[in-house]
Symmetry: C2
Amino acid sequence: MPLRTAPSVKRGKIPEATVARLPIYYRALTQLFERGETRVSSEELAELTGVTSAKLRKDLSHLGTYGTRGVGYEVEYLRFQIAREMGLNNDWSVVIVGLGNLGRALARYGGFGSRGFQIVGLFDHDAKLIGSKLRTGKSEIEIMPATDLARAVKQLKARLGVIAVPAEVAQKVCDDLVKAGVTSILNFAPTHLSTPDGVDVRRVDLASELQILAFHEQKKNEEKSA
Amino acid sequence: MPLRTAPSVKRGKIPEATVARLPIYYRALTQLFERGETRVSSEELAELTGVTSAKLRKDLSHLGTYGTRGVGYEVEYLRFQIAREMGLNNDWSVVIVGLGNLGRALARYGGFGSRGFQIVGLFDHDAKLIGSKLRTGKSEIEIMPATDLARAVKQLKARLGVIAVPAEVAQKVCDDLVKAGVTSILNFAPTHLSTPDGVDVRRVDLASELQILAFHEQKKNEEKSA
DNA sequence: AGAGATTTGTGAAGAAAAGCACAAATCCCC
DNA sequence: GGGGATTTGTGCTTTTCTTCACAAATCTCT
Ligand SMILES: NC(=O)c1ccc[n+]([C@@H]2O[C@H](COP(=O)([O-])OP(=O)(O)OC[C@H]3O[C@@H](n4cnc5c(N)ncnc54)[C@H](O)[C@@H]3O)[C@@H](O)[C@H]2O)c1
Ligand SMILES: NC(=O)c1ccc[n+]([C@@H]2O[C@H](COP(=O)([O-])OP(=O)(O)OC[C@H]3O[C@@H](n4cnc5c(N)ncnc54)[C@H](O)[C@@H]3O)[C@@H](O)[C@H]2O)c1
């Protein structure tokens, strides 16, 4: 086995489309690793993740040259490089606002903690929920009143926030989170949030997803009857 | 008020990026309509939905010419046109497989029924859940055993399926859904599903979303310390 | 050590999406 | 009915993303 020469780490900006796919590659690599695989080709990894092998190689080429021609990629090594690039080796503190149907499902979900996301704060408006405890990953957390949000989030130093409140109050909650120092927000409310520069928002819009599927479904029908 | 001349309905393919935004415009228009607004300009609607006005106008131009120069768009009329284009006037039957944390939150969510998506079937593997009832929108539905999936879905004639089971069994569930006639799938399991041609899959990957935010968050830090 | 088989990394071409800017259509008011 | 103000619809440009296709690097086998 030859000594691995230090690979060149690219320092250009990574295209947004690539960033969105890195978590998917990361997950597939994790599976391969757990299955004991040590090597994988771009063709195999592409098959597993549902992209083309050319796209996969180009995506990876933005991080650096971590493969070996004629051979493929070392699973563990590539996985580590993606994790480093994405900041998954850091621990991220996350707060969730709104513990209704969806917020509770998110809080209880074990998959976040195991990926470096620690849920450190839960906030709701409803007096019936405040004070009750939820098991999130390893620890139990008490639901705090939304009125405490600004103070508590600042103290917890969380910079990631999840909004799972009704659409009507989402902008208000968003403003409070931003005021408390949150700079990245995952928004489940079906509404656009405006934020100052430097604050990222990603929306997950479940009803829209169904509507997009329905649109294509309708097109399939039109074709058939045409 | 002049008679509205029949607007030309465009019959070209609508770009995918546009399709993904139509539900967002639709929702904003619904809000405006409920608020009693009758007209809206591309500038205002763009502001509400977080896009630029030029993009919005180009998106709408793919459906037809439904605006009036110098005036704007009629809220109700434009809303109806988008609904028609997206097939939101039809009723869509949806089944959900996996009623854990997430599946239950989805099943209980009222926002789907009100948008033309009827949840008509719930399936799980767990004997403790089978037979129990869940209130979904107007009606109560009994959770059925996953072994019945093929038969029941065929009978229900559902063509939209939601997968909310652990990743390890997602492909199996997907295959069963496809066999039963489902041609559009919303997948919450963090794994790629392979399906035959003609079957659409959209993935909603919550952990990936957090990871993407974390990536940008890390970049912000690097900038600051640079 | 060389020939043949793989498989990466990447320029270049092509396609899709976004952004710009302005003519054309409409309204309002005098 | 005409002039000024408004706002759409769209051709054109730029940017971003995807796909193609092949030289370069590595491995295996003899
Ligand atoms: N449940 C789903 O499957 C689903 C699907 C798509 C979208 N959504 C969206 O996600 C959001 C949450 O959905 P849900 O089903 O959990 O709703 P929900 O009504 O069950 O829960 C909302 C929670 O937010 C809390 N809340 C209200 N105002 C608040 C405030 N000002 N500060 C803090 N907390 C406040 C409420 O007390 C409640 O606990 C909604 O915007 C909904 O449209 C949910
Ligand atoms: N809960 C979340 O917030 C969250 C977040 C991100 C991703 N996810 C993903 O969504 C999926 C569901 O998450 P969850 O938290 O609801 O998990 P969960 O374990 O609470 O629920 C899974 C359900 O699927 C059922 N199931 C298992 N095998 C089945 C089969 N073969 N047929 C039918 N039903 C079967 C189980 O009985 C269980 O009720 C998982 O893939 C998870 O990774 C969940």
